[in-house]
Homo-oligomer: 446 residues x 2
């Protein structure tokens, strides 16, 4: 098993900090790019630029491409002289080069590209939005002509292979570069060499346009179990391919977005951002939450006379509100995830909501009875017990209904259901919980 | 682009329900397994069993393997006669067969396996925990001898390829089946046919043992960009390989677990479970939450005399508590995700906590000032304004500190930080929020 222990990482960082750069460079030359990327991530900005500058470009370029934190990759490239940066870019695969350059200001990008020799592929990729198939794809692939024989195709693959890293499937095109089919290696090596490619190829079932959203590309790859998806233009011409390793990165990035949104953070907050940037990203959400909290608290103001006459109720406010929020968040998490995995079949939205309502009602009865028993046991009287039970059942029922309904509704409207943050559900259950407890009290007890 | 519109899915389901099975079967034979799996998922239990029984086993087996909802796959197989189920199992790849059989009771499993001919591979795979490398791997792979020539290896690959679907890399073993290296197709087709395999192969950098956790397997594949990872036993003998499509499924499953935990649902709740099962899975969390809510509410009981003398404070309770919970959940989401992506470099935990503290303090000052201004504007006096400001700053600071500290601490203790559900953070901020607001009031105002 190849794994880099924390101790080794610390030792490498120590070598750099003690000025023993030659010792470090000797080790770096033999390391996996991802491991070296972790070393870069552990350094501070000026140390990192210094290391990238002093390592050979063929080593530092790959380490930079594998560094986990995207914002720091761009910063590092921008801190180099344009010619130094160009040497790095020249060593990278076209998709990695476009990713890193895409993090820079357009002026800086142009300054570096002007020094880069012979990489029109990188400039072409930079034109696509980074969250689309075009932004993910590499233009480097192996293709053969549909009119060729299997023997001729194998010879052609052999020639192209020398210039292309790990190429997965072989694509079959016609004279106008239009995608006609896909050849697996298996087919290429087991087929009769005299047969024509046309006879043994598979139809290109799964293709995407360059503007296709990256999340959809990932879904198609997971669904159809293909190691690479061809990207074609409107006329069916082959532009590039998206490979499995990019798709795993996309799934990780989408997971980050979903968890951040669920936690009430802007989905595009850079995880490693400084505190100032993080405040800018989160403060709007804090103020949205402030607004919803004022709405909930206005219910308390409305029923202030009830509280004055029965201050013991105040202790039940956070219980009724909190458990409603908990149950609503549970329903929300389950429903958002079912939608993301496309696990809610045709016309079954009603069934999903009905299930969550039943769960909320049951848990409301269970937890409500427990709270009512505590109220009775502490001598607060059967009326208060009844009010607390009814408020709990009502709030947990409403919470679970809304937790399931809102994401389903957003999905039906074509909006990403993951924006239904738990913040809105808890705002709703706070408001309803206060209204139920205080309203029922003023009606039954007072 | 190949995609199955909802209309087509509905039309296929309608064909089955109108009894036009032959029309459906003709279409099914030409469909992708994943698309047919969606049709199965849209049917109810008895319809599904009927369709699986009537389609040819080579078609229904693949559709069943691709059906999105795991629990229903096992149920369907269990509802068939053992011989019918055995025909399905015989058609499946070893890893898919073991996955589906793994969902059945041991007795049912044995009953079916007794009817299955010649699949010792499936029985072997069933012995591994399904969340490990052994549970994910397939034993079907292509290997060549280290002592062979490139030409000999290519001939050997050609023979094995006829029996193996999509095989990715070629593994190089010695006479005792010990893994010695890996050969890409590229190397196989571009190398001089007379060279020895030993001279052109790559060392097997990334390998795992069969007991390795599936999440670690996914992390290694994403990190080192390899399309398949060999699984070896303690003596280095090659047991199987885990492929990229299984890893994408693992990443999806782990995302589900993380989002469920964050939402306070048991990570292993089946998303499509009936309401009864869902209640059983969630009720324990509801009672944990009930306990924490009682703790928070006991703070209110403790300060009941303060509330009696200044009932206006009650309206500020949900604001101070709610915003603290919001800020704590934000810090939690960001920190949990940074840990999952291993983006927190050596010895930087302190820096992470400091950043979140600074964010909490700043947002506390911003939101606290806004609430204090509202208190002043509604004529509630400068003392109440000051108390609210101080309580907000304190609670948002404590919330963000705990949101960052708890997952980092769990991680240091070797516990999965994702268990730090938002429920615990909001329980903490409710308690602190009430104590700060009521405590400061009794000290400053009354």
């Amino acid at each position: 098993v190849k794994r880099q222990p924390t101790e080794l990482l610390k030792a490498l960082v120590a070598l750099i900090r003690r000025g023993l750069f030659e010792d470090f460079a000797a080790k770096a030359a033999k390391m996996e790019p991802a491991d070296l990327g972790d070393v870069l991530a552990s350094l501070d900005g000026t140390e990192r630029v210094d290391v990238v500058r002093r390592l050979p470009p063929e080593v530092s370029s790959q380490a930079l491409a594998e560094m986990p934190d995207e914002a720091h990759r761009g910063e590092t490239l921008a801190a180099l002289d344009p010619t130094e940066a160009a040497h790095i870019v020249e060593q990278l695969d076209d998709d990695d080069a476009a990713d890193i350059l895409g993090e820079l200001e357009p002026a800086k990008q142009q300054e570096i590209l002007a020094e880069v020799e012979d990489r029109p592929d990188v400039e072409r990729l930079l034109r696509y939005d980074e969250e689309t198939a075009g932004g993910l794809m590499t233009t480097h692939l192996v293709s053969v002509l549909v009119s060729d024989t299997v023997a001729g195709a194998l010879e052609s693959v052999r020639k192209q292979a020398e210039e292309t890293e790990d190429f997965g499937n072989v694509f079959v095109v016609d004279g106008a570069s239009r995608l006609m089919g896909v050849l697996s290696f298996k087919t290429l090596v087991v087929s009769d060499p005299d047969r024509r490619v046309e006879e043994v190829m598979e139809p290109p079932d799964v293709t995407v346009g360059p503007e296709e959203d990256q999340e959809e590309v990932a879904r198609l790859m997971a669904r159809y179990n293909v190691p690479s998806i061809p990207v074609v233009d409107a006329d069916g011409r082959l532009l590039g391919r998206v490979t499995f390793d990019d798709v795993i990165d996309v799934v990780e990035a989408e997971t980050t977005e979903d968890i951040l949104r669920f936690g009430g953070v802007s989905a595009h907050e850079d995880l490693a951002a400084s505190w100032g940037t993080a405040v800018k990203s989160r403060a709007p959400w804090v103020f949205v939450n402030l607004l919803t909290a004022f709405i909930a608290s206005s219910v308390i103001v409305l029923f202030e006379d009830v509280l004055v006459r029965a201050v013991a109720l105040a202790a039940y406010l956070p219980i009724v509100a909190g458990l409603g929020g908990n149950t609503g968040t549970q329903a929300l998490a389950v429903t958002v995830r079912r939608l993301a995995l496309r696990q809610i079949p045709v016309d079954q939205s009603v069934r999903v909501i009905r299930k969550e309502m039943a769960v909320g009602l049951t848990n409301g009865l269970l937890a409500g009875s427990a709270v009512a028993i505590v109220a009775l046991a502490t001598g607060q009287g059967p009326q208060l017990g009844l009010v607390v039970l009814m408020a709990m059942v009502g709030n947990l029922f409403l919470g679970s209904s809304v937790g399931a309904l809102v994401p389903l509704l957003l999905n039906r409207l074509g909006v990403d259901p993951a924006i239904a943050s738990s913040i809105f559900v808890t705002a709703f259950t706070d408001t309803c919980g206060f209204a139920l407890l205080l309203g029922l009290s003023s009606w039954i007890i007072l």
